[in-house]
């Protein structure tokens, strides 16, 4: 059906396994890496320098879409930065591209929610940037909590229960959805359960990235087991009844 080209931070150990597990038969994944060890603004800016070269590597495998599967690197400079990166990838390759942050905003809009709470693996500094990116995109962030991890390899070692616990901790009655940010954080296994228990959609950055990539490829109805967003990929937000 299609080939997804995925750009991952070199120290990310989570996003490739989580993509592979969720992809339907006929969609394959091809990865290139961008050098990154620490989730800090300086490291992230250096990482993006490599973006065009690595995107061209993926384009040489004739992928249908290129996804920058990294959350912080795609919102770091605020609103519009993700679009700027998409522009760079598309200009370098002639392929359609998206980023995790772009996908996250699209997913939130698709679900037709505007008030969310944010849970992330980040420290306060990066979490504040995440929050302002969401708010600049028209999303109200009622509360934000982060685990305070800066070393990306350490994020990859966190178990999915840390995402589950933080989501429950940050949730509020007036939140319409829960956002879980960082593609190196294991979130995919807890989305379904959280949605059932809390009765509201849970959007993780990995889940939203997979959703956006599959929508761009087209022809895939849905992937079960990873929350409302992926269960019904093509459905419009309002009509998709929350089960």
């Amino acid at each position: 059906l299609g080939r997804i080209g995925l750009l991952v931070p070199s120290s990310n150990t989570t996003v490739e396994p989580e993509f592979y597990r969720a992809l339907p038969a006929g969609v394959t994944l091809h990865t290139a890496r961008l050098f990154l060890t620490q989730i800090t603004p300086d490291s992230i800016l250096r990482m993006v320098e490599d973006l065009e070269t690595q995107s061209r590597h993926l384009a040489s495998a004739d992928v249908d879409v290129i996804v920058l599967g990294a959350t912080a690197p795609s919102f770091l400079k605020g609103l519009g930065y993700d679009r700027e990166l998409i522009g760079k990838i598309e200009a370098a390759t002639g392929k359609r591209a998206t980023t995790t942050s772009t996908a996250l905003i699209e997913a939130i809009r698709h679900l037709n929610v505007s008030r969310v709470v944010l849970g992330s693996a980040y420290d306060d500094r990066v979490n504040a940037i995440a929050r302002s990116f969401l708010e600049a995109s028209g999303v109200t962030v009622l509360d934000a909590k982060g685990l305070g991890v800066v070393d990306n390899l350490v994020v990859g070692r966190l178990g999915p229960e840390t995402a589950y616990d933080l989501a429950r901790k940050v949730d509020r009655v007036d939140a319409e959805a829960i956002v879980l940010a960082c593609t190196n954080w294991k979130t995919m296994d807890v989305i379904d359960r959280l949605e059932q228990e809390l009765g509201k959609p849970v959007v993780s950055t990995t889940q939203a990235s997979i959703w956006a990539a599959l929508r761009m490829i087209g022809g895939i109805d849905g992937v079960p087991g990873y929350g409302r967003l992926l269960r019904n990929i093509m459905a419009a937000g309002k009509e998709a009844q929350f089960a």
Partner: protein, 255 residues
């Protein structure tokens, strides 16, 4: 952490679309595959194949950070082209960068055939003449004679992935000779993995492939029994009683 049982750092030529897919398809629970791409063009010219040696160092730096248990340099011609010493140099360079043992496809090809005691083999490749000649020399240096070589004769490496598994099946069946003790299908871009079992059954002799041999050596290096029962005898042997499962890896911080 994903890959708690074993993490494979897979370096593929940037144009390769087959190897990541096949490695993920056979990865058992607890094993993860993380890829980086080796810069290069889509034509397997001598210059491009030689260039991969240097370009692979950058890809190794990118993959080192996931702390792999084994690194796989996933290109057959890119590891045999300049002979066994060149192949060893690639292994040493990449292990130096990543701190993990390195498996190259050409090294795995030789090791798998030697492990079976096969000295006369037939080979199927997608390569042009100059590359096929180098492959024969590489095997000869390991004491293995190529009895017959069949080729799809395509220079464009991206297009190698368009060859269908059933075409590979037919080509192997068409060229193999009674004299050959085994058949090897070279090139990690060829989708041979899914027809190996069928070929071994129908020909009654071992048929190995580039991706399969690379995986075999990678799992052996990790000391992981993957229990892959439908991709040929070579991988099945990893699960036989008495197969050497030398778990050499140290327990990680995260275990």
């Amino acid at each position: 952490m994903y890959g708690w049982r074993g993490r494979i750092g897979l370096l593929v030529p940037s144009i390769n679309t087959t190897m990541e897919t096949e490695f993920w398809r056979i990865a058992p629970q607890g094993v993860s595959v993380h890829s980086a791409r080796i810069a290069g063009g889509r034509h397997g010219t001598p210059e491009e194949l030689r260039g991969m040696e240097n370009a692979s160092k950058q890809a190794a730096k990118e993959i080192a950070m996931v702390e792999p248990d084994v690194v796989v340099y996933g290109c057959t011609s890119g590891s045999f082209f300049e002979g066994p010493a060149w192949n060893r140099k690639i292994c040493e360079q990449l292990s130096e960068i990543t701190g993990a043992p390195t498996v190259t496809t050409a090294g795995a090809m030789a090791a798998s055939l030697i492990a079976g005691g096969y000295k006369k083999v037939d080979v199927v490749t997608p390569y042009v003449d100059v590359t096929n000649e180098r492959l024969k020399q590489f095997l000869k240096a390991h004491g293995i004679e190529v009895v017959k070589l069949g080729t799809f004769d395509m220079l464009d490496m991206f297009d190698h992935a368009k060859i269908q598994p059933e075409e590979i099946y037919s080509k192997v069946k068409e060229i193999t000779t009674p004299k050959a003790e085994a058949v090897f299908v070279a090139c990690t871009q060829l989708r041979a993995l899914e027809v190996l079992d069928l070929l071994e059954r129908d020909l009654g002799k071992p048929v190995y492939s580039a991706v399969q041999a690379s995986a075999w050596q990678a799992y052996e290096a990790m000391g992981v029994d993957p229990k892959i029962m439908d991709c040929g005898g070579l991988l099945r042997r990893l699960s036989e009683p008495g197969a050497s499962k030398k778990a050499v890896k140290k327990l990680r911080r995260s275990a």
